[in-house]
Amino acid sequence: MTPPLLRVDGLRIELDSGVPIVEDVSLEVRAGEVLGLVGESGSGKTTTALALLGFARAGVRIDAGAVEVDGEPLTGRGEAAVRALRGRLVSYVAQDPGLALNPALRIESLVGDMVRTHAQSQTGGDVARALASVHLPTDRPFARRYPHELSGGQQQRVAIATALVCAPRLVVLDEPTTGLDVVTQARILEEIDRLRRERGVAVVYVSHDLAVVGSLADRIAVMYAGRIVEEGPAAALLARPRHPYTRGLLGSVPDPGRPRRLESIPGVAVGVGERPEGCSFAPRCLQRTGDRALREMPPLEDVGGGHRVRCFEWALTPPLTLEEPAVPPGVDAEGPLLLVAGLRAEHRGRHDTVVAVRDVSFSIAGGECLAIVGESGSGKTTIARCVVGLHSPTEGSVVLDGTPLQPRAARRPREARRRIQIVFQNPNDSLNPRHRVGDAIARPARVLRDLPQRDAHAEATRLLERVRLPARIAERYPGELSGGERQRVAIARALAAHPDLVVCDEITSALDVSVQAAVLELLAELRVELRLALLFITHDLGVVASIGDRVLVLEDGAVCDDGPVAALLREPEHEYTRRLVESAPRLPRLPEVA
């Protein structure tokens, strides 16, 4: 067996104040192998990734442990020595290429800098070869462009080319496809796979997206609260996860090919500095027996076949079974609740006008969930805003229960404003940071239902319970809550008006996978309880599969496909839909729906 190219041993990284971020991390990666490092926010995966280059951000330091690449240590040495190794021996591809590329230098300079610093040869040929290797044009005009003149996908390819031009033995990629549309993401993943096959580099691929990692990695390591909780061959780990967190994570991943109910993990992820004495996952663990895990940290145990788990009760972890989505409540027979006909909307800029929505028509019946899916720029958010009255369409009508609505919300009758509510994408923005949570939730009840102060606040408390949040949160400010909690509050606020239709504009796109599953699960239940109709906007086909009854596919502002979710996803007919479905990464070898 060849010696490992990357060896990490007992890595411990902490804040300057002594609070640990990453503890007891040991890894091995061989040449030509892809290791997927998986975790959600706060797991420490990015900090670990940076440490593989011997780097720690300001305020953070590598306290203990060793990182070795091809026999060369990257820790415990002076900065100058380590820096000489970076780029040549091990290189890094960052998450956001738009921010990672120097805006003042041309592409040829960016790649050329790498060559000039580490190799002796002159640049011209190397730069062209590097660009060609990632399938970018190699002509002079292209190489003389600045980063902002490239698309996101092209920028990321430049970053990858820069990382590979000096033939490093190890490449660390940190969520390199976040922010790219699904089709571009698929292409970039293909590139990475091809390059590692051709060159035999070892790859560490950091991501929160199990589906992406599952399709690319040979081995997977799952991190939670700064530690590796499970690690092993990708196939074995995904087929039969042993750690309850891994299992919960897998259960949360939406699968675009198969509509199913998502399982969520109860509780909230623990933040840096709040980690308990024993196993960090224990407070949320459903299969915990007794108190041992709360006091003692389980060691990494071998489960067989190179698969290791950090859990006392790993033998109890049941296999993952996937459930059919809950049967949606019967849809209202009498006439559609919302009817949108011939909608056309534009964005007037300083120099030009962009048509965002062309001739879009659809209907939603009471109690039904219509999903609208498309890439960024497809016009789906604009449609949502037109329905709610935040954007005036240039043509077309929005009809609620037979009554046409005014384009602007302020002009609509109060009943119309009450019956249609909206929840936004960004949890940091949906709530006024200066208002307490209880006040925020009570506001629609007071404004749209004329409830007196006391009743409105009582309603707010009831709603908090309904969205599974403790009632005492009503006194807190949004800044004290996590992203998932804030979205639940936003949902509670929408419910305070007793609406018939809730427009959800990418409400889970900014959330961790497990948090997303919990919010989607909540919505599914609320739908049944309250007979809510939903207009669910998303770019993620997997989410559509988990929550929609019918789906509308948007391409460039026009509807190109629509129909029942299950049928459309299993056998997509339209070419664009097919491309979306095929590009969406999905977990391999997941057990069939039970």
Partner: protein, 339 residues
């Protein structure tokens, strides 16, 4: 194989039809418009507000007939818009009118003759200060940023915060106290005989330059430092370090290059600031420049002179802005393709 999502604002050929030329022309047009607006502002401020220039010249005890005569001579008895157009026409054709001081002395004295030498004097003062300020601010600002948190940075930060709070006349007065009262090495007033160049009397220039330098340097240093710190904290600088580039290269090619664009605007602002500070400084040191001329003119309500000097200074102010904008566009590639 190109990407599915082609970028919107890309093809370099599209906007390349001399974007710089179009940019300059657009800015010039805006500048001319602004200058017009400013001239109206000046006119409104000086002639339309309550307060009578004639009585200011002659004094409050002047007889009504004398006042009427003076008003007629100064052309103050005609409606406002007529006077404005008249004046504007004069300015554009080079006839800047006569100064009230001349009238008071009993004759006509063209303003342009009076202020021409003073323009040169002020220009010399401002230029010397600017030439000292820019390199000093760059060096100290960048050094403070690179060594942020260390002794040099603290010392510079604290002292610059203190100095920018001080009005010029305070800085000047304190300097006079030190270098004249106490040390007696420099003169408290800049006596430059009319007709001689200020460069012939270097001692007369030292204190005014130091005074002007004081607050403008401090402000520039703070802004350059802030820009450099921001650049040093940028993701692309971290990425450069992750790519294994030596620190010197990172600071110079990755951080500094991106901090330069904003620095140009900083210096433009501070040169403009010099223009404001020059008025007080010249008055304090009795330096025969445009600023002192302005104060003297205001004191005797010499409306014509005030208007001319104010317009001149405003034009200069705006010119600096254009030059700065041009330099920034040249230095920041992103703006070039959007221009």
């Amino acid at each position: 194989m190109t990407d599915l999502a082609a970028p919107r604002a890309v093809a370099p050929t599209a906007g390349r039809r001399r974007p710089l030329l179009r940019f300059v022309l657009r800015r010039l047009a805006a500048a001319v418009a602004t200058l017009f607006a400013v001239s109206i502002l000046i006119f409104l401020g000086t002639e339309v507000l309550p307060g009578d220039a004639a009585s200011a010249v002659l004094g409050r005890t002047a007889a009504p007939e004398q006042l009427a005569e003076m008003r007629a001579a100064m052309g103050l008895d005609r409606p406002a818009y007529e006077r404005y157009l008249d004046w504007l026409g004069g300015v554009l054709t080079g006839d800047l009118g006569n100064s009230a001081a001349g009238y008071a002395a009993g004759g006509e004295s063209p303003i342009w003759e009076e202020i021409r030498p003073k323009i040169v004097n002020s220009f010399v003062l401002a230029t010397i200060t600017a030439l000292l300020m820019i390199p000093l601010a760059l060096v100290l600002g960048v050094l403070s940023a690179v060594r942020a948190g260390r002794p040099l940075d603290h010392a510079v930060s604290v002292s610059s915060l203190a100095i920018i709070s001080l009005p010029e006349f305070i800085i000047g007065s304190l300097l006079i106290l030190v270098f004249f009262s106490w040390l007696d090495v420099l003169p408290p007033v800049s006596l430059i005989a009319p007709g001689t160049s200020p460069l012939a009397e270097p001692k007369a220039l030292v204190l005014p330059v130091l005074t002007l330098l004081g607050a403008s340097l401090a402000a520039s240093i703070r802004m350059v430092r802030a820009g450099m710190v921001e650049a040093l904290n940028a993701e692309y600088v971290t990425m450069a370090r992750l790519n294994g580039f030596p620190e010197r290269m990172v600071v110079r090619r990755y951080a500094l290059r991106n901090a330069l664009g904003p620095s140009v605007q900083v210096f433009a602002q501070n040169v403009q600031y010099l223009v404001g500070g020059i008025v007080v400084t010249e008055y304090l040191f009795n330096y025969p420049g445009l600023g002192k001329e302005l104060v003297d003119a205001v004191a005797i309500r010499d409306v014509r002179a005030v208007q001319v000097v104010a317009l001149l200074i405003a034009a200069f102010y705006i010119l600096i802005n254009i030059v700065a904008d041009l330099l920034v566009v040249l230095l920041v590639p992103k703006l070039r393709t959007q221009a």
